[in-house]
């Protein structure tokens, strides 16, 4: 398949853009693959792409039970950043952010990475101190971070209510200038197309129903489209990790919770950065189409329902209006829910499992989108070498049993609090 270019865009404009070929093939599954990735979201597709590109392993299939981009890849709030405190998280998310920065060129697909900056608001002295500590730690780790005062903040985000009368008065913020957003659907499409061009089979409407395990080694997957033999299997089904892993007899340190987000009707550009309020757990940005994207807290009870309840939508609206009173006349266009693998320490689970040839990539809590390139890169390395890549080695399943949990928020094994 030929690369996309300005010349091709012009050429196709003459025929009214009616003759573009499909972006990736729709192959029948083969009988056997060297590597089978379960889950055709961003993480699974990125893994397949880097397997082919970095490791030359091209006899790869990605199995997706629905359609590409229909799961959590298309349900997040598209924020990318690397403002983490714990050493392991800081290193991993910064690696991922660096991949984001060159991803459009790498994939030959415009994934609309927009490093418009991300702001974490401080509403009291305690939060200011805690964010200052985070910013210092980030700078020690070579990551950009700055503390900005209320005056600067009100110049940077004029529509943010920085007055003394605000419902939650703002003291200032921590800013990561390289943070921002990326077009989530395009990430799935870009990786799918790039992986396909390197020979990866992307098989949609193919649900894994059972795993064939012989002498503690996974040898095949029984799917809704027949039996598929596999040398190595990588699960990348965050949100559903527990019941897919259960097919291999595994129990995981994960509980599935639901998170809602929503967008308003589109309006003219008013917000050119990402604003997050840790105290409210609200995060707000404006898409290139003009919609205001709003996200909030978990529903706080386990659920696989992929749909939320009205009280949380009301809360998101209240929080957003407390920060941006001028949005009060906006109408909501769409709300949705996605299910999250919430782990017992808030960090992901990537690496090997007790079953030979079976590897896991999950437990992303609600931080999975920004991790997509780094996760795919490191998981591909893990599958290629049959041992955890250095970058993600701390995210092993064993850490819970050896006392090496990576608890960014310090909540302990209470998944809904992470």
């Amino acid at each position: 398949m030929r690369p996309y270019s300005a010349l091709r865009l012009l050429g196709n404009a003459f025929s009214g853009h009616k003759n573009w070929p499909r972006a990736w093939r729709d192959p029948e599954p083969a009988k056997q693959y060297d590597v089978v990735i379960v889950g055709g979201g961003g993480h699974g597709l990125a893994t397949a792409y880097y397997l082919a590109k970095n490791h030359g392993i091209k006899n790869v299939a990605v199995l997706e039970k629905g359609y590409i981009g229909g799961g959590n890849t298309g349900r997040n709030t598209t924020i990318i950043r690397s403002d983490y405190y714990q050493e392991e998280n800081s290193r991993f998310y910064e690696f991922s952010l660096k991949l984001w920065e060159g991803l459009s060129e790498d994939l030959n697909f415009n994934i609309m990475v927009s490093q418009r900056g991300s702001l974490q608001l401080a509403h009291d002295e305690g939060q200011w101190s805690s964010l200052s500590r985070l910013a210092n730690r980030m700078r020690v780790n070579g990551i950009d971070a700055q503390m900005i005062s209320r005056d600067e903040l009100s110049r940077l985000v004029p529509i943010l209510d920085c007055s003394d009368e605000a419902r939650f008065p703002v003291l200032g913020a921590m800013r990561q200038g390289r943070g921002g957003t990326a077009r989530h659907d395009a990430v799935a499409w870009g990786y799918a197309r790039a992986a396909d061009r390197l020979g990866v089979d992307i098989i949609q409407n193919c649900e894994v129903q059972a795993m064939e395990i012989v002498n503690n080694r996974v040898v095949a997957l029984n799917t809704s489209r027949g039996r598929i033999g596999a040398g190595t299997v990588g699960m990348a089904v965050a949100g559903h990790s527990s019941h897919v892993a259960a097919m291999a007899g595994l129990t995981l340190p994960i509980e599935t919770h639901m998170l809602q987000a929503m967008v308003s009707e589109p309006l003219k550009p008013v917000l050119d950065t990402v604003v997050m309020a840790g105290a409210l757990h609200a995060y707000v940005s404006q898409t290139d189409k003009g919609e205001i994207v709003m996200g909030s807290d978990l529903e706080f009870y386990p659920s696989y329902a992929q749909r939320g309840n009205l009280p949380r939508i009301e809360q998101i609206a209240q929080e957003t209006l407390a920060l941006f009173p001028s949005f009060s006349r906006l109408r909501l266009m769409r709300t949705w829910g996605g299910v999250n693998d919430m782990t017992m320490d808030g960090a992901p689970v990537i690496g090997h499992t007790p079953v030979d040839g079976l590897f896991i990539n999950g437990g992303w809590c609600y931080g999975g989108f920004k991790a997509t390139p780094g996760s795919g890169w490191a998981f591909a390395e893990t599958l290629a070498n049959q041992r955890p890549a250095e970058l993600i080695a701390p995210y092993s399943l064993e850490r819970f049993f050896t006392g090496h949990t990576i608890d960014e928020s310090g909540h302990g094994p209470i998944p809904q609090a992470q």
């Binding site: 019941h243 129990t251 995981l252 706080f300």
Partner: protein, 91 residues
């Protein structure tokens, strides 16, 4: 909205209640000073997290503050049972 039938207050909206934890992670330690460490770690960190009915510990935090053991389907949100916690259910 889920409706929980509190044994003391009657049917109330789920926002009055706080989910505490899955009942499978509630302490069942019986060996006093000599617990089985692996079993304890499994209890603290692992969850079956299967699709379907789960027994969960909730508190009617914005109501009578009573502790409840609720049997609830995590896919359909159907509530099968809403009973007072028993001795030993403490989270």
């Amino acid at each position: 909205m889920q409706l929980f039938n509190c044994p003391w207050c009657g049917p109330r909206a789920h926002i009055e209640f706080t989910y505490i934890r899955d009942h499978q992670s509630v302490s069942t330690r019986g060996n006093g000073d000599d617990p089985d460490v692996q079993q304890e770690l499994d209890r603290i960190y692992l969850r079956s997290n299967h699709l379907g009915p789960h027994q969960e510990i909730w508190q009617h935090s914005a109501g009578c503050r009573g502790w409840l053991r609720i049997t609830r389907n995590n896919l359909t949100h159907e509530v099968e049972d809403c009973l007072p916690c028993q001795h030993g259910d403490a989270p």
